[in-house]
């Protein structure tokens, strides 16, 4: 076992995959000598050279489109869009090309788009958004959103080996976090399997990406008050492991979904709808959503963290739900 950062395991995973399969290459802005804005690809340029660790101009649309073409031609590109806010520039390529390649054109498109969602660093409204919602409603794109180092590595390996376009979220607050992991990298984890990261019978809390970290912390606090929350870390949003969710909800009867992005129009609504459809008669209370405010993310520290769920607000909302009668 060893104690390493999320950044470190992502870097090691990229290195291992690049070594394993020479059709894999990285492409993005400032990923070479700079190592990416959070250092996730630091050192890879020296090892694999500039053909496989390809610094690009600031051209998100072309980066994505070129990667898609290369993927169809037989490469396995991993592109990095520096902040998730900038995938807005890649939406056309992802929606109108990547997502259509298999169902319409009959082609494989083994592409991974790595990007960093999330607030918490005071970067302001165009560097802090959680925009997975844009792709959650587009059939043909898979979405992975790990919350810890082991899953980060295991899901990234799966993403890279998948023959479809995968959006891979590396929340910016995860990068510096440290985790206990095995000395060797984990095996790939299949997509579509949520993980119950804590068992409990009083209510179910569902989250993904960094919100899973907060959910676990909240669950620990709740436990001090004798409320035992079952925490489900989704790991992938598409495919969604609705079965694990439903099973848990059937046993707890109370469920809360945490989403960092704004409440309205997010993916929590989709999950809530599915739960209600499939486990209506098991629900003691309506599915609760705790999400970001319907506002952009402000830069001021004093405002920023108040706009999104925190351990405190999760704990409070979960406790209210668990204790309601």
């Amino acid at each position: 076992m060893r104690n390493i950062t999320f950044t470190q395991i992502i870097r090691e995973t990229l290195e291992a995959e690049l070594t394993r399969d020479e059709t894999i290459f990285l492409m993005g802005e400032d990923i070479g000598v700079y190592g990416g804005p959070f250092g996730a690809s630091r050192g890879l340029l020296e090892k694999f050279g500039s053909e496989r660790i390809r610094d690009t101009p600031i051209s998100e649309q072309a980066i994505t489109g070129i990667a898609i073409g290369a993927a169809v031609a037989g490469q396995r590109p991993i592109i990095e869009i520096m902040f998730m806010d900038f995938i807005t520039l890649a939406v056309d390529q992802m929606v109108n090309m990547a997502a259509k390649l298999h169902p319409i054109y009959g082609q494989n498109c083994p592409l991974v788009l790595r990007t960093t969602p999330g607030a918490g660093r005071g970067y302001g409204a165009t560097h802090s958004q959680s925009l997975e919602r844009i792709f959650c409603g587009i059939p043909g794109i898979k979405i992975a959103a790990p919350s810890n180092a082991r899953d980060g590595s295991a899901l990234l390996q799966t993403a890279i080996r998948d023959n479809n376009p995968v959006l891979f979220l590396e929340h910016k607050l995860l990068y510096p976090m440290r985790f206990e992991v095995d000395d060797k990298l984990p095996e790939p984890t299949p997509f579509g399997y949520a993980k119950i990261t804590r068992e409990g019978e009083d209510l179910t809390i569902i989250a993904w990406s960094y919100m899973s970290v907060l959910a676990l912390q909240a669950a620990a606090k709740l436990s001090n008050d004798d409320i035992e929350a079952e925490v489900i870390d989704l790991r992938t949003l598409a495919p969604l492991d609705i079965d694990t969710i439903i099973e848990s909800v059937k046993s707890t009867g109370r469920v809360m979904i945490i989403e960092e992005g704004p409440l309205t129009g997010g993916f929590a609504g989709e999950i809530a709808a599915q739960i209600t459809e499939q486990a209506f008669e098991y629900l003691d209370y309506p599915v609760k959503r705790l999400a970001g405010d319907d506002l952009p993310i402000p830069s001021a520290k004093s405002l920023e963290l108040n706009c999104i769920p925190s351990v405190a607000t999760i704990t409070k909302a979960a406790s209210d739900l668990a204790l309601a009668d």
Partner: protein
């Protein structure tokens, strides 16, 4: 022989497109299609200059390119009939067909969408160090999309083996190049990326063929991309039912005088490659091919719903 084969192909494209227009008028096919009547010399010139391992991408107006690259008329046409024998099993329609096995990397409904895609194929060629060249076909209108700029810069930086072949047919839908381009010479845009940019007569098969061959060879030698502007004219409407209010009938009549198919026929006769009787024979054979394709399409089973339902993801 080159000319004769080229003529065969140009005529096939012309008749194919004319038949599509008829089929729409008769209500026998649905959806949308954009015919390339008047632009056949570009399609055939480019395709003839390519080698089997090369790649080609196109746009919404891609029948000509695809046929020139070797598409079976019935399988292309079947997309308009929504039939299972189509290149996209009837799911794609005219704007979404692909056949990598013949080096055809797709028509594309997003104006400009093929530009980075073709470049990605060239990136693959460059990484694998194959001698494949990627020929990216697009229109004057597409050259105004931002992705054109982003992509040409990257391809030039990385010296990728890709040819950007713009068919300047004078219009993007109803928008003339004068209205759409601050500098109507698209080849001039090459300077921004330090790559060669040339403007040629796109209605002359041999001019297109020679030019593309030259730059394809250069690209194969590692000299990077080029921007080739083929001046031509869309004799047909933009898509079915286009009343063409944005241009005069006189202008069109003038353009018909430069009809590349007629020009080619004149050349064949002048150079004594074919006699008038032989030309007529080609015409009849081509008509038969098209007629047969239509019948094949009509008799083919419709697109399979069950298969489509299971198609979202690759294994």
């Amino acid at each position: 022989m080159l000319l004769k084969a080229a003529y065969n192909q140009m005529l096939l494209i012309r008749y194919f497109e004319e038949s599509i227009e008829r089929l729409f008028l008769e209500g026998r096919v649905m959806g949308t299609a954009h015919t390339c009547i008047g632009q056949e010399a570009v399609s055939v010139g480019v395709a003839t200059a390519l080698q089997p391992q090369d790649a080609m991408t196109t746009t919404h107006r891609g029948h000509g390119h695809f046929l020139a690259r070797g598409a079976e008329p019935a399988k292309a046409m079947a997309e308009l009939f929504g039939k299972s024998i189509g290149y996209s099993k009837g799911r794609g329609g005219s704007q979404m067909m692909m056949a990598p096995e013949m080096g055809f990397y797709g028509s594309n409904g997003i104006t400009g969408g093929s530009i980075p895609f073709a470049t990605g194929i060239a990136l693959d060629a460059s990484i694998r160090k194959t001698d494949r060249v990627s020929a990216c076909m697009f229109g004057d209108g597409a050259s105004n999309q931002g992705v054109f700029h982003e992509t040409l810069n990257m391809a030039a930086l990385w010296k990728l083996p890709v040819l950007y072949i713009v068919e300047n047919n004078g219009y993007a839908m109803s928008t003339s190049t004068d209205q759409g381009l601050a500098n109507p010479c698209i080849a001039d845009r090459a300077k921004a990326y330090n790559i060669p940019g040339v403007t040629i007569n796109g209605n002359d098969f041999e001019e297109v063929y020679n030019c593309v061959q030259q730059y394809a060879e250069a690209a194969r030698q590692g000299e990077g991309p080029a921007l080739i502007e083929c001046m031509t004219y869309r004799l047909s409407g933009h898509s079915r039912g286009d009343p063409r209010v944005y241009r005069t009938r006189e202008e069109e009549q003038e353009a018909w005088k430069r009809d590349p198919v007629k020009t080619m026929e004149k050349q064949l006769l002048e150079r004594k490659v074919l006699t008038a009787a032989q030309i007529e024979e080609v015409q009849q054979k081509t008509t038969a091919i098209i007629d047969k394709a239509i019948i094949t399409c009509e008799n083919a089973p419709p697109a399979s719903a069950a298969e489509f339902q299971n198609s979202l993801f690759a294994e």
